[in-house]
């Protein structure tokens, strides 16, 4: 699959990555090459094969409904680049 620039830009926006003009040209080639390389999977017969999104060695565990976390706003905010009055601050979102 060969990507074009607008696809790469669209994907970059979905991933919130600001790509400069210089960055984008080599990327188009690299990404196309990687995707093309992965296309060998198309030749594998997977009729009636179930996908395996997680290793199933593991039993299920459900937590008990109890309040045993939270209550430490200062800790939660301690690494924040910008915060005030107990809130995280971000550039204003226009709705």
């Amino acid at each position: 699959m060969s990507l074009n620039k607008s696809t790469v830009r669209a994907i970059a926006f979905l991933a919130r990555l600001d790509l400069s003009e210089e960055a984008i040209e080599p990327l188009i080639e690299e990404l196309s090459a990687i995707l093309q390389w992965t296309e060998k999977l198309q030749s594998v017969d997977t009729t009636n094969v179930e996908p395996m999104p997680c290793i199933n060695f593991v039993q299920s565990y459900w937590r008990e409904d109890a309040i045993n976390d939270g209550g430490y706003a200062e800790t939660v905010l301690t690494n924040a680049p910008e915060s005030a009055k107990g809130f995280f601050l971000v550039p204003k979102v226009v709705n």
Binding site: A73, F87, V93
Partner: protein
């Protein structure tokens, strides 16, 4: 009741589907142990997982699973024994991980049904497509600062049930009835408190219109409506907007809009967002949800009597008409209150008192039945006092008002204020005689043919007896006296 819109070029049918987000009643969040209650100081109910710190992982809350199954059963829905959590990926400041853990292809609950009753006495069945579990997002405040939005993650990660209906509704009334019924069922089950002001129940409405017998046309989504009244307004406005657009030759684009309650209009979201590609995939931090039969049956066995069943029972046992029964069962506490009062009493009289006087009083004071100043027992006692003739129904109304104010039991009020009914005919006759004596002119008018003055006479006698005269006896006696007979009291 027609639910067509009459456009300039003919009839249009409204097509409505609702997606309801209901916050689950649980102590802790869906995947973390932080608290869920409303109104805490910002970011004080946030676990490290909820703030998406590196390396943090979800662990699912058993109670939330139970509540979803319970709700599915209450909606007559199929419970999926195997369901899967999926990540819904998008960026927003109130979504710390950059994805919401939700369910996509394999939800915990499948198709179900909700019966709704309309004001014209008809009933309809609305199909539920599915119910799934998902995390709620945090809150953004945009009005605190000129260039900054404030983010509070207390709500981030609270468990939600998203309940999706089929586009089976065709009028704003049906949609309102659906929301009310759903809310009622959720409150009965105890799986959601249905508090729309606080945001525990939110509606996204999908609206489109079409010609009769046409296929579906493009729909628009109106997000986050938090009252039934606004649901109705939004649907009315949006459906008419579609009709206007079509009839002027235009076309409707699929879009997401929001409802502006001050103008009653739906408006496009100002920032033209890119179409979201959520890139759903199964969350690799969680294993699939597997429910066994015992787990589901335990919940089923312990389901409370639900509104529809209760309504049927009320109609059968208490002989109430469908409409009244429907109103009394909408809220579980109301139904329980009613049944307490109705025990051993005339159910229709009780229904009248509850629905008229009590509801009226609660509504005026903005209270719920759970903090009614008049207890079910006291109301029952009041009704007994009328039944055994101690007080007239007229006096009962003022006793009721006193009960509202003081919370005292009725017999105490009756005694304290000396409100016992006067049933002694001699006393009533004396009062009648006195009024007739004072207003001989009016008596003459009555006898001369102005029979409508009877009401005035009755009023005067009532006044003279401080309202305590037994109305039936008074009526009989005064008619006889005015008619001219000098019947002696029996």
């Amino acid at each position: 009741m027609s639910h067509w819109i009459e456009g300039q070029t003919g009839l249009w049918e409204i097509v409505i589907g609702l997606e309801i987000h209901a916050q689950i009643i649980s102590m802790a969040k869906l995947f973390s142990g932080a608290a869920t209650f409303f109104g805490g100081a910002p970011n004080t109910q946030v676990a490290l997982f909820d703030a998406a710190f590196p390396g943090m992982l979800p662990v699912v809350n058993a109670k939330c699973i139970e509540q979803a199954v319970r709700t599915g059963l209450g909606l007559n829905a199929h419970i999926n024994k195997y369901s899967v959590f999926a990540r819904k990926n998008y960026f927003y400041a109130d979504l710390p991980a950059g994805y919401q853990i939700s369910q996509h292809e394999l939800p915990i609950v499948g198709p179900g049904l909700v019966a709704i009753d309309l004001s014209d006495g008809t009933s309809r069945t609305i199909r539920i497509e599915r119910l799934h579990l998902e995390q709620d997002a945090g809150k953004s405040l945009h009005d605190r600062h000129p260039t900054r939005s404030f983010i509070d993650l207390n709500r981030a990660g609270v468990a939600l049930m998203e309940i999706v209906s089929q586009p089976d509704m065709h009028s704003s009334e049906e949609a309102a009835a659906y929301v009310r019924k759903l809310r009622s069922i959720l409150r009965y089950l105890g799986s959601c408190d249905g508090n729309m002001q606080e945001g525990s129940l939110r509606c996204d409405v999908n609206v489109s219109v079409r010609r009769p017998d046409e296929d579906f046309r493009t729909r628009c989504e109106i997000k986050n409506i938090n009252s039934v009244r606004f649901v109705v307004q939004a649907i009315e406005y949006e459906a008419h907007r579609h009709v206007r657009v079509y009839e002027s030759g235009g076309s409707i684009e699929q879009e997401t809009r929001f409802f502006d309650s001050s103008s009653g209009k739906t408006l496009p979201m100002r920032s033209k967002e890119m179409v979201h590609d959520y890139r759903y995939f199964q969350d690799p931090d969680l294993v699939p949800l597997m429910l066994d039969e015992t787990f589901i049956e335990d919940i089923r066995t312990n389901l409370p009597e639900l509104p529809d069943q209760k309504k049927s029972r009320f109609m059968n046992i208490y002989g109430l008409p469908a409409y009244a029964a429907g109103i009394l069962v909408e809220d579980r506490e109301t139904a329980e209150y009613y049944e307490t009062v109705a025990k051993g009493r005339d159910p229709k009289i009780v229904a009248n008192w509850v629905m008229t006087s009590l509801f009226g009083a609660l509504h005026r004071s903005g209270r719920e039945i759970s903090d009614s100043p008049i207890s079910a027992d006291h109301l029952g006692q009041l009704i007994d006092l009328i039944g055994d003739g101690t007080i007239s129904s007229h006096i009962a109304k003022s006793v009721f008002e006193s009960m509202l104010e003081t919370g005292q039991e009725p017999s105490a009020i009756v005694t304290a204020k000396g409100l016992k009914q006067v049933t002694d005919s001699k006393v009533i006759e004396r009062a009648i005689d006195e009024v007739m004596r004072q207003h001989a002119d009016k008596v003459a008018l009555y006898r001369g043919g102005q029979v409508r003055i009877l009401g005035w006479f009755i009023g005067q006698v009532m006044k003279a007896t401080d309202g305590k005269a037994n109305p039936e006896k008074l009526s009989t006696l005064i008619k006889k006296k005015l008619a001219g007979s000098t019947l002696s009291s029996v």
